[in-house]
């Protein structure tokens, strides 16, 4: 850049300063990123011949999806949907009921250190493993059927809900909490009057959101034996009844859409 000593000529070129100032680090990241992407693409084993071969198969496969068949397996289909819905509701309720003590314990401003660490541990464990792995173990322990799915989804809910609850409590206004404490309230009164009103609206919205997630997840825990619409879906795939599978997917999409609409409506109504 030219000096600013008051000359009349101004620089005639300008370049935007790069995002990463150090040019060595910048090139290292660019080259490293490129090498990684190339290596990763290499592991994909994209075999043009096989893809070509697969195209007609894909065509036939997609054809067999249409028209979606709602009629043939109507009984099992609706039973599966109903099971998924009940499973989603009960696991959300149970999960949230379990999340509240865990979430309170995992909030740094409410709990002593050892409780805090213990509850954070529960949350981390529940968040790390996808619901489906939880479901595999639940099926091993409780046998096939919706009970296993229920346990898996409820455990998954804890990781999600307790974490957000704890974060919300930590972000709540300290002055309001102090004001209630100053009245001489005990711990429960204090939480009830100062923390609860602050976190409640968001938590109600999140519980509807989690219900939505649990419903969607209930469609997959069935694949490993956890009951619900997933089981129906898996059966229809393994029997090559793709038109029924298409019908199930459409129903799932419609229900999720309805839930999304309801949850946005609920959130507006709560606030």
């Amino acid at each position: 850049m030219a000096d600013s000593s008051g000359t009349d000529s101004y620089p005639s070129s300008w370049k935007k300063a790069p995002f990463i100032k150090n040019s060595f680090v910048r090139w290292l990241l660019i080259v490293g990123g490129a090498i990684y992407l190339a290596a990763a693409l290499g592991t994909m084993n994209i075999d043009i011949e096989r893809v070509k071969e697969g195209l007609p198969r894909a065509q036939r496969f997609l054809d067999s999806f249409f028209p979606p068949n709602f009629a043939d397996n109507r009984g099992v289909l609706w039973e599966g949907i109903a099971e998924s819905i009940w499973m989603a509701i009960i696991s959300t309720v149970a999960g949230i009921a379990l999340s509240i003590p865990v979430g309170l314990g995992a909030a740094r401003n409410l709990a002593p250190a050892w409780v805090y660490l213990f509850c954070r541990g529960i949350i981390a464990a529940s968040r790390t493993f996808p619901e489906i792995i939880l479901a595999i173990f639940a099926v091993k322990l409780f046998g096939f059927g919706p009970f296993a799915g229920f346990v898996a989804l409820a455990l998954g809910t804890i990781g999600f809900y307790a974490k957000l609850l704890a974060e919300d409590i930590e972000n709540s206004s300290a002055s309001q909490a102090e004001a209630v404490k100053a009245t001489g309230a005990n711990w429960f009164q204090w939480v009830n009057y100062s923390i609860q009103p602050q976190v409640m609206p968001r938590m109600i919205g999140l519980s509807v959101y989690r219900l939505d997630i649990n419903f969607r997840e209930s469609a997959v825990v069935g694949i490993v034996g956890g009951g619900g619409i997933g089981a129906t879906l898996n059966t229809s795939f393994s029997r090559y009844e793709f038109d029924t599978a298409a019908a199930i997917l459409i129903i799932i999409i419609l229900i999720v859409m309805a839930m999304e609409y309801t949850s946005s409506f609920m959130r507006k109504w709560v606030q």
Partner: protein, 270 residues
């Protein structure tokens, strides 16, 4: 202010009687639904298995220790595949999600038909779990990493596009107006007025989704779509519990590292 008159003295209440009644009815309906749901689930449960679960848990737990460390030699490749599935899947998702988001946001796309199509793409991608996408793709493409990558990509499009389009709708309009007032064309308006405002969100969403995708790609192997889930499935089927426990540890470590990496990168960018 709602009050109640009791023996001639007026006292304060939080809610009017009508509100109170509505609340009671809502609670009652809610509890009835929960009871009914529980009834439906428990009907299909074999309670013997459930009561036996603690024994089962103790049994499996005992078989899982110590983890078979030597099996690690066979896990490096699956872990590498898992990370690649997540990364390339996220790249695919972002490439599709950004244009979809711009086509869905009210302020960049006035055309209602285009917006509805965008919303439809977002909702259908979000409703179908990546495992189901993988199940379908394994039928089409055959088992392997490719099916998993595309499954992750398809699932993530909706998630990313939704968050991005919401942030596009929340941008500061006066900055765009200022660019428009200079006589810029609509593509330049996008480039100078809108994009700088949403770029941080786009980057943040990509990293956030990559972190989630690492988790999701660990299980795709259950339906044959590559990654460490393949080994998990095999070990579970052969009841090789010491391998299972090692795989779970590996997943745990991978997820923690990815969480750390994404937190670092996010901190550097935003």
């Amino acid at each position: 202010m709602p009050t109640i008159t009791n023996n001639g003295t007026e006292s304060w209440r939080l809610r009017t009687s009508k509100e109170q009644w509505i609340r009671w009815v809502c609670w009652l309906i809610g509890i009835a639904i929960i009871m009914y749901a529980w009834q439906m689930i428990s009907e299909k449960t074999v309670w013997f298995f459930v009561t036996d679960a603690p024994n089962q848990a103790a049994d499996i737990g005992a078989r899982m220790v110590p983890p078979k460390w030597s099996y690690m030699d066979k896990l490096w490749k699956p872990v590498w595949d898992t990370i690649n599935i997540a990364t390339l899947g996220t790249v695919i998702a972002m490439v599709i999600a950004v244009p979809v988001a711009f086509a869905t946001a009210r302020n960049t796309t006035p055309n209602i038909v285009v917006r509805t199509i965008g919303l439809f793409i977002i909702v259908s991608s979000r409703s179908v779990n990546s495992l189901i996408w993988a199940l379908i793709l394994v039928f089409i493409l055959g088992p392997g990493v490719l099916a998993g990558t595309i499954a992750i990509g398809l699932r993530s499009v909706g998630f990313c596009a939704k968050l991005i389009y919401e942030s596009i709708e929340e941008i500061d309009h006066t900055q765009v107006e200022a660019i428009e007032a200079t006589g810029a064309s609509s593509s330049q308006k996008m480039l100078f007025g809108i994009l700088p405002q949403v770029l941080p969100t786009i980057a943040g969403v990509g990293i956030y989704r990559w972190d989630i995708n690492i988790r999701e790609s660990t299980i795709l192997g259950l339906v044959g779509a590559g990654g460490i889930g393949l080994q998990l499935n095999g070990s579970l089927n052969t009841l090789a519990w010491t391998q299972v426990s090692l795989i779970l540890i590996v997943i745990l470590v991978t997820v923690f590292i990815s969480e750390w990496v994404s937190a670092k990168v996010r901190g550097a960018i935003i």
